[in-house]
């Protein structure tokens, strides 16, 4: 294996919170052994499923979040299974877990108990970290977007309408970003010190610093943000920036400076669509006046809204961008597949799926970099697909040992 995490063995205790972090480690070349309960990771049961038929081996959310991992199914309530995990950790580089604080200590699998492997980096990604008054609260990813502040800033301008959290597993992913910081820096350190360490990341802490200016705005000015439809929350109400196009889509007309060249082209475009209004007036040639009007008035904003309403979305996006205007079109995720730009950048990775007799193009990931080589390398495992192989090859168990463990229900 090559890649930034090549030659590492990661043991991951299956959980919906940490699986994206484990995926990125596997994508970076690590060997990631996911320890699942006998009934399968909770991540296998959420859907969507292939053809909407519930099947833990055909959960698309699981497929996406577990590329390239190995699956070992153990019943950690049983002592023999706990011993197997302990033995795996004795030779692992990284342990990634998201159990409720205190759970693993009861099994003799907390950091102090397994740190006889001095090189082990033991990373806990939990809802609230290992301590604090809310430590044992019940959460899910959407609940974290509420508590962490993302929802409070997002939604609609109508003050009576609910705040909104984006669909997906964003809070868990934010936590994963930080646990990966910790793991990566700990690996950097271990190259010189030879020592691993314990890492405690709280998803709530991560979300709470992830609302851009909202917290500084409160801390320094005591100001509260207004939610605004499709745009930034702000201490003052502002006119809309998310504007409907002629073909029923939405442009995000981000505010920016209109220098003389950009302005000239923008006016020409408005002329073409017959929406320029009074903007030919000489006063708009003065950039300071123009920008002040744009910022505080309605004439330029209204003309932009008319321009966008008279244009189709794609046309609007490309024309604006070709003029140096950073507007974006609200796309659907799946529409990106058809965009040549991402194909030219070799963004899609073809992953074979024997379950459906074909390959699926997976997103590569955030960075294009041959030296780091972080990209999906293979499909997610079937439940318990590697149990036997890992127990035999890594732990030296015999066929007979495995048969009796299987019979007792300790492994699958």
């Amino acid at each position: 294996m090559s890649g930034v995490y090549a030659d590492l063995t990661v043991v991951e205790l299956a959980d919906r919170r940490n699986q994206w972090a484990g995926k990125l480690l596997a994508d970076g070349g690590a060997r990631v052994i996911q320890i699942e309960p006998i009934a399968g990771s909770p991540g296998r049961w959420c859907g969507p499923f292939v053809k909407d038929n519930t099947d833990p081996d055909r959960c698309l959310d699981y497929w996406w979040n577990n590329t390239g991992k190995e699956s070992v199914a153990l019943d950690l309530k049983r002592k023999p299974a706990q011993d197997l995990l302990r033995k795996l950790l004795a030779h692992a580089d990284v342990f990634l877990e998201s159990t409720r604080p205190g759970t693993l200590a009861k099994l003799g699998l907390d950091y102090d108990a397994v740190a006889t492997n001095r090189a082990l980096i033991y990373a806990s990604l939990t809802d609230f970290g290992q301590d604090g008054p809310w430590r044992d609260y019940q959460m899910n990813s959407a609940a974290h977007l509420a508590l962490g502040g993302q929802m409070s800033s997002s939604g609609y301008s109508d003050p009576k309408v609910t705040p909104i959290g984006g669909q997906g597993h964003h809070a868990w992913q934010m936590g994963c970003a930080f646990v990966l910081h910790g793991i990566t820096v700990a690996l950097f350190d271990r190259m010189t010190s030879g020592e691993g360490q314990y890492i405690d990341v709280s998803i709530h802490d991560a979300c709470a610093i992830g609302t851009e200016a909202a917290v500084p705005q409160w801390m320094y000015y005591g100001q509260t943000m207004y939610r605004q439809t499709g745009m930034h929350a702000n201490p003052r109400r502002q006119p809309p920036l998310q504007l409907p196009t002629a073909d029923g889509k939405y442009m995000i007309a981000v505010m920016q400076n209109f220098g003389p060249r950009v302005w000239e082209r923008l006016i020409k475009w408005m002329d073409e669509k017959g929406v320029t209004g009074e903007l030919h007036d000489a006063k708009y040639q003065d950039e300071a006046f123009r920008m002040s009007e744009y910022r505080t008035g309605t004439v330029i904003r209204d003309a932009i809204a008319r321009l966008i309403a008279a244009s189709n979305g794609e046309e609007c996006f490309h024309r604006a961008q070709s003029y140096g205007i950073s507007w974006g079109l609200v796309h659907a995720a799946e529409e990106n597949y058809a965009i040549p730009h991402y194909q030219q950048r070799n963004y899609w990775r073809s992953i074979e799926h024997p379950e459906i007799d074909r390959a699926i193009p997976y997103p590569r990931g955030p960075v294009a970099c041959d030296a780091l080589q972080i990209e999906p390398r293979g499909r997610a495992p079937r439940l318990g697909e590697h149990t036997k192989q890992v127990l035999q090859q890594d732990l030296g168990l015999s066929d007979q040992d495995i048969a009796s463990l299987t019979e007792s229900g300790a492994i699958r």
């Binding site: 509420a146 409070s152 350190d189 190259m191 610093i209 961008q321 730009h341 030219q344």
Partner: protein, 454 residues
């Protein structure tokens, strides 16, 4: 290095990063390294400044000056979105003074700041010398800016074969759209993130802040750490082309696969489903209005979800309606999902008159998922968990006095991360960088200043 670094020692001590980033997503990425003791040198243009310093009125220090009103400044406005790098030519205020905007102060904390005129050949020489003594270089300009300075990847690699160079942009530095520009909301829109947030049948709600400047910055910071790790292993530098929209799409992988396998699009009438959950389909799973409203007159809300039957039964008991759990309309999760409009009104009637933190505490005591929709005020003032975890540390600032900051959520046992300082003042570390690191004499530095190089 003999020079005494102004940076607190940590696990990344000895790592030096040249930071040409501005706005938000760029600065976040190298900022993360400061928590581990890396020396991050934020370069601001001589005679200019990072416009996030001024992105608020009033400034932290005082209401004056509004930058747009400064005499002799034609193109710099107090609101950053009107300033573009290439067209901005304003003189900085006469004396060195920080009119720090809150977000700049938070975003750049722990960095060093130098001023440098990169349009001056002498200034570019200094950039080349700095590249020679740094481990990483980060920028979020448009794709053509560095090559226009003569700094192609080949040239950068020649100057320092060990250096990791990361460009951070909306669409990446290759492909048809490499010239396209993007801010956080542009990238969120293009990637599909904005569309996946909102109520069905309503315009997209999107994200009420640049989620991709935040999360995109964190992923960029991760890529930098990964780059430093790989360079430490191999001794070789390389180029990282980080495109924020590509990172965003990889947060939507499940929906991509659903489209590929099941042909289901995220652009469909019943998606997104507000705060409800469709994968898995469970109910109740929503926000509910509570008693009261915030300072701006926006209603207060609490999030409640029941993922298990016992949770739902506990909720019914808590609401004083234990019979609900036996009602065929709500007895199973499947039935609850089918009847969730009615169920949501029942739960909403219960929460409506109650106080949001009481609801959360009572639900949590009964094992039910519940969370107050917390504003910034709520998190800073009333969140006992964040207080316990010390997520808003106080740090002294020479001009501003003691200020509160946002902390860093990684707690490491052997090599602790830390928040070690305020944001730098304009050009504050010129003498450290030019004098101590580059070994220039006071007279040389004065000469550079006179020739407007720094």
């Amino acid at each position: 290095m003999n020079a005494q670094s102004p940076v607190r020692p940590g696990v990344l001590t000895g790592v030096r990063v040249l930071d040409f980033s501005w706005k938000t997503v760029g600065p976040w990425a190298p900022r993360l390294l400061t928590h581990y003791g890396a020396e991050v040198i934020h370069v601001e243009r001589a005679g200019g400044y990072d416009d996030h310093r001024y992105n608020a009125t009033p400034s932290i220090v005082s209401d004056e000056p509004k930058v747009a009103a400064l005499p002799g400044t034609k193109k710099v406005y107090s609101d950053p979105q009107f300033n573009t790098l290439r067209e901005e030519k304003a003189e900085a205020p006469g004396q060195k003074k920080l009119y720090a905007a809150p977000y700049f102060n938070t975003l750049h904390h722990g960095k060093l700041a130098i001023s440098l005129n990169t349009r001056n050949p002498e200034g570019l020489k200094i950039v080349e010398r700095l590249i020679g003594m740094c481990d990483a270089l980060v920028e979020n300009f448009s794709a053509e800016v560095l090559p226009n300075w003569g700094l192609t990847w080949e040239r950068i690699h020649e100057l320092n074969p060990r250096l990791v160079y990361m460009s951070l942009s909306g669409f990446g530095h290759t492909g048809d759209w490499k010239g396209y520009r993007s801010f956080g909301p542009t990238a969120a829109a293009q990637s599909g993130l904005s569309l996946a947030s909102g109520l069905p049948g309503k315009p997209p709600a999107g994200w009420g802040f640049s989620y991709l400047d935040v999360m995109g910055g964190w992923m960029g910071g991760l890529a930098l750490m990964q780059g430093l790790l790989q360079a430490k292993k191999t001794g070789k530098g390389f180029y990282i082309d980080y495109a924020v929209t590509e990172g965003a799409m990889s947060m939507l992988g499940t929906y991509m696969l659903d489209y590929q396998v099941n042909g289901r699009r995220t652009r469909r009438p019943d998606f997104p489903p507000g705060n409800r959950s469709i994968f898995p389909a469970i109910a109740p799973h929503n926000t509910y209005r509570c008693a009261g409203n915030d300072r701006n007159g926006q209603y207060w809300w609490v999030f409640i979800a029941c993922e298990t039957q016992p949770q739902f039964e506990s909720l019914c008991t808590l609401m004083g309606q234990p019979g609900l759990a036996l009602d065929p309309k709500f007895a199973t999760n499947e039935a609850r999902v089918a009847n969730q409009d009615e169920l949501d009104s029942i739960v909403g009637r219960w929460t409506r008159a109650r106080r949001r933190y009481d609801i959360m505490r009572q639900c949590q005591a009964a094992g039910i998922i519940s969370a107050v929709v917390q504003s910034a005020e709520d998190r800073v003032e009333y969140d006992s968990q964040l207080q316990h975890r010390e997520m808003h540390p106080i740090i002294n600032h020479p001009e501003l006095g003691d200020c509160a900051y946002e902390g860093y959520p990684v707690k490491m046992s052997r090599t602790p991360a830390f928040v070690h300082g305020r944001a730098p003042m304009l050009g504050e570390h010129n003498s450290y960088v030019y004098g101590e690191l580059l070994g220039m004499s006071a007279a040389e530095i004065a000469g550079l200043r006179e020739r407007e190089v720094i």
